[in-house]
Amino acid sequence: MTSEQQIETLVTPEMEARKGVWENLRISPPIAESDIRKWAIASYWPDTPPRLFWDHEYAKGTRWGGIIAPNDFNPFAWPIDRPRTAGGAPQGMGSTPGTRGMNGGQVETFGVPMRAGDVITSRTRLKEWNERTTRLGLTLFSETEMEWRNQNGELVKTRISTGIRY
């Protein structure tokens, strides 16, 4: 049985091999205006969301010239193909040392907004990591960079996510 004291590092050879390598290329379905409206309603609930996200006539008069999506809109939600996990648990989440994890947060930098009809291409790479002993024991903080571009190659956003494993 593996004890917490026996683990010398949570960095795996797979991580070393993947570091800096762009992967997980995904292409979204075309964004539907109705998806933008639903997203805005859910995220502003119970208040009415800004007209910029659902009112054509209003949005035409803004600098954007039409409806745009909220910054956090996710065009990759509801894919047909997806990993199936037992009990709906997030992948890789366990209860033993080194397999426990949590979301450490993210920083997003935004470029052009997403609009109805856009097709977004996403790619990710393991950027870097930092391992140290915390109150949780040996803890690995890993940064994953995600980049989204639209069908014109314009940068929509970059996201640096911090994953915590302990």
Binding site: D35, W39, S43, P50, L52, R63, W64, A77, M102, G105
Partner: protein, 144 residues
């Protein structure tokens, strides 16, 4: 056009208007439905307790991030832009919490041709406890 605030009108130390939501399964489920974020710890009290949260199911971090962006959008209006936003999840969003987004201007400068305003952000619960410290950069229109 909705210009809520001009670059010239803000100064370091200013705070954004308070923006609050009381969260429960209604708000969590609506967000889960659009973001396809169905995880038992956010849906089921027993699963939440198994994840060591005694009070049961708890809210998703992504929704608090969304609240931060919404508060910024409501403050800056439709002619401005959110250039950057970041959060760290430090505490749990419990059921029926009233969350308030806070933001304080820490800097303003013209950079890369943009009128950028820097903010220190957080989402605070009804007990005054900060749950996710963060930061943001917004680009405001100029009066000129």
């Amino acid at each position: 056009m909705a210009v809520n605030v001009h670059f010239e009108d803000v100064k370091v130390g200013d705070e954004i208007p308070a923006w609050s939501r009381t969260t429960d399964f209604m708000s969590w489920n609506r967000y889960a439905a659009v973001n396809d974020e169905f995880v038992y710890i956010h849906m089921d009290d027993e699963a939440g307790r198994k994840a060591l949260n005694e009070r049961g199911a708890f809210g998703m971090g992504n929704l608090r991030y969304t609240y931060m962006l919404d508060a910024l959008r409501d403050w800056i209006g439709d002619e401005a832009e959110i250039r950057e936003c970041g959060v760290q999840y430090r505490a749990i969003n419990q059921k029926n919490d009233t969350l308030t987004v806070t933001g304080k201007i820490t800097d303003k400068k013209v950079e890369a041709g943009e009128n950028r305003v820097y903010l220190e952000m957080n989402v605070v619960n009804q007990n005054g406890e900060p749950t996710c410290p963060g930061h943001a950069v917004v680009v405001l229109p100029s009066k000129g």
